[in-house]
């Protein structure tokens, strides 16, 4: 393919170069105790699972966790394969999940085909490839250390977490290979906390095992309808929708039964003086906002962030503008100086400068109930 002389997004190119350099594999390969696994598994169990052979373990896709940012690193000894197993519509090794805790108060999980004590994928020859433990799907634990998450995910029938390398035969996309008929699965799973006893979907009730559920079905692309909603049945007899509660979301009042908000562990007063200065650069005003962190943060999902409500936004200044961002990505020490630059080009992403009107902003810690300070300005 002919390459254009210049890229449209040189900054993206630069960032991808940085990411490629950071993730450059070291020469040493990951060695998995495959032989040990093979010895542990009896021939009978392999035959039952429909697995012909073991292949190489899947290489790591995400960089190793960082102890001071993101979900953190895996807590040694915390990896737990749930006893929950769900059959695939075509048979073979069942589907299962494993969960583990991380050093920054999160839990991560993996879904795939299960053989012995391993979660992995099957290749076209039916060989099983174990997945490495990596922090790609994680959520903050609640204040009691419980994981809450609900996901609908399209996956390949072999357990592969990256679907759409082919297009479903029922919904072909020009120019892309078609999957074998019925090769895509709708995998629906959730971690519902200790108060849940069952789920109901499409008029059928399924028991919850170890506070979790896992449903695997052929993806039906011939129907325009969205998958049937899942209702959670709680031990007290009440029902509620199975929703994916993003616990870092500052919205309160939408958490499931049994969930203990992280914010309850934060002091009620987190106010701190803000320093807010403006500087003109060309036709634009660039604002610098800084403050000293009133509280240390060391948990995934608990961060300082900035919320700005503007008069108008968008490319033609004709849309309502609300910006939330600048989350501190990792540990923050108490008293640490945090500084951010507010520029119309970067944060609002349009080159025309600030839209006219009054802007009101605030720095919050985790949620809107914990306001560090407020700021505002008027753009003429």
């Amino acid at each position: 393919m002919r390459r254009p002389d210049t890229t449209v997004l040189p900054e993206l190119e630069q960032q991808l170069r940085g990411a490629a350099l950071r993730t450059q594999p070291r020469r040493r390969r990951l060695v998995w105790p495959l032989t040990a696994v093979a010895v542990l598994l009896s021939g009978a169990s392999l035959a039952t699972a429909g697995v012909k052979l073991f292949g190489d373990p899947v290489a790591r896709t995400a960089p190793a966790g960082n102890t001071r940012s993101g979900p953190g690193t895996t807590v040694p000894g915390s990896v737990r394969l749930l006893s929950l197993r769900t059959a695939d519509p075509n048979g073979g090794a069942p589907w299962g999940m494993r969960v583990w805790n991380t050093s920054r108060g999160a839990a991560c999980w993996q879904v795939g085909r299960v053989v012995g004590q391993q979660v992995g994928v099957l290749d076209r020859a039916g060989r099983f490839h174990a997945l490495p433990i990596e922090q790609s799907q994680c959520r903050p634990l609640d204040a009691r250390g419980t994981l809450f998450a609900v996901q609908d995910q399209w996956m390949l029938a072999n357990g592969g977490a990256e679907p759409w390398t082919c297009t479903p035969s029922e919904r072909p996309v020009p120019g892309r290979p078609r999957c074998l008929p019925g090769n895509v699965r709708l995998v629906r799973y959730g971690f519902l906390g200790p108060d849940a006893s069952a789920i109901e979907v499409g008029g059928r009730r399924h028991a919850v095992t170890e506070d979790a559920f896992l449903l695997v079905d052929r993806a039906d692309f011939s129907s325009p309808e969205v998958p049937a909603p899942i209702a959670v049945v709680y031990r007290d007899g009440s029902h509620g929708p199975a929703r994916d509660y993003r616990l870092e979301d500052p919205q309160r009042g939408t958490t499931p039964p049994g969930y203990e908000p992280l914010a309850d562990n934060l002091p009620s007063d987190v106010s701190a003086p803000l320093r807010f200065t403006a500087k003109r650069r060309g036709k634009d005003l660039i604002f610098t906002l800084s403050f000293r962190a009133p509280v240390a943060t060391r948990r995934f999902g608990v961060s300082y962030r900035i919320v700005i409500d503007g008069p108008r936004g968008g490319r033609r200044c004709d849309e309502r503008m609300r910006f939330t961002g600048f989350d501190t990505p990792g540990d923050v020490r108490r008293g640490q100086r945090i500084e951010v630059k507010l520029t119309p080009g970067i944060q609002i992403r349009y080159g025309h400068g600030w839209c006219p009107g009054r802007y009101r902003g605030k720095v919050i810690l985790h949620d809107s109930a914990h306001v560090v300070g407020r700021f505002s300005w008027t753009q003429r």
Binding site: M1, L9, L12, A19, G70, P174, G175, P177, R349
Partner: protein, 179 residues
């Protein structure tokens, strides 16, 4: 250097991945711009596609249908995920420690131009399905004949014939509208 060789080089060289980005940035931006009504959104989706592609290559995923087919598969996946979640997925970029990209008017205008194929789409829609499929893959998504043949499970010769017939029909149709 062909795509397959670059894909193999990615393990040893970040430059190889950047070269793949340079080759496919505009086709992917165009792919998204034709499917979402916003250049900024198209840029956002493109960032996530290449981040996922980098992760996939690092994981040595099988790319047996060619890099282009595999990359557009990821693009479709990102688009579907984003529709489903109501927001652009950024998990791969977060995992890779990538920041949001600043966009200026010039870039937005270029992205808009990449997606400007309203007339072509109308004319393409009127073609027989097999010609439309081949033409779309060749002209709009800028795919190689070999890749298209692999994707459509037919010979390269058949794809060339379909593209050629489709172009002739388009020429007649679009030309006719101009007279």
């Amino acid at each position: 250097m062909d795509d397959e060789r670059l894909v193999r080089e990615v393990e040893r060289s970040a430059d190889a991945f950047v070269e793949l980005y340079r080759r496919y940035e505009q086709p992917v931006l165009g792919y998204f711009r034709r499917r979402v009504d916003d250049a900024e959104l198209a840029a956002d989706l493109t960032g996530e596609v290449f981040a996922r592609a980098l992760e996939g290559l690092r994981a040595r995923r099988d790319i047996d249908r060619g890099f282009s087919a595999w990359l557009f598969g990821i693009a479709h996946n990102v688009l579907v995920d984003s529709y489903r979640r109501g927001r652009v997925d950024d998990e791969a970029r977060r995992r890779l420690g990538m920041e949001p990209v600043a966009l200026v008017d010039d870039a937005l205008a270029r992205i808009d131009a990449l997606g400007d194929e309203t007339t072509l789409r109308g004319a393409l829609d009127a073609l027989p399905p097999e010609q439309r499929e081949a033409l779309w893959a060749r002209i709009v998504d800028e795919r190689d004949y070999e890749e298209i043949a692999g994707a459509l499970v037919c010979s390269e010769q058949v794809v060339r014939k379909r593209v050629s017939r489709g172009l002739a029909t388009l020429r007649a149709r679009l030309g006719g509208e101009c007279q």
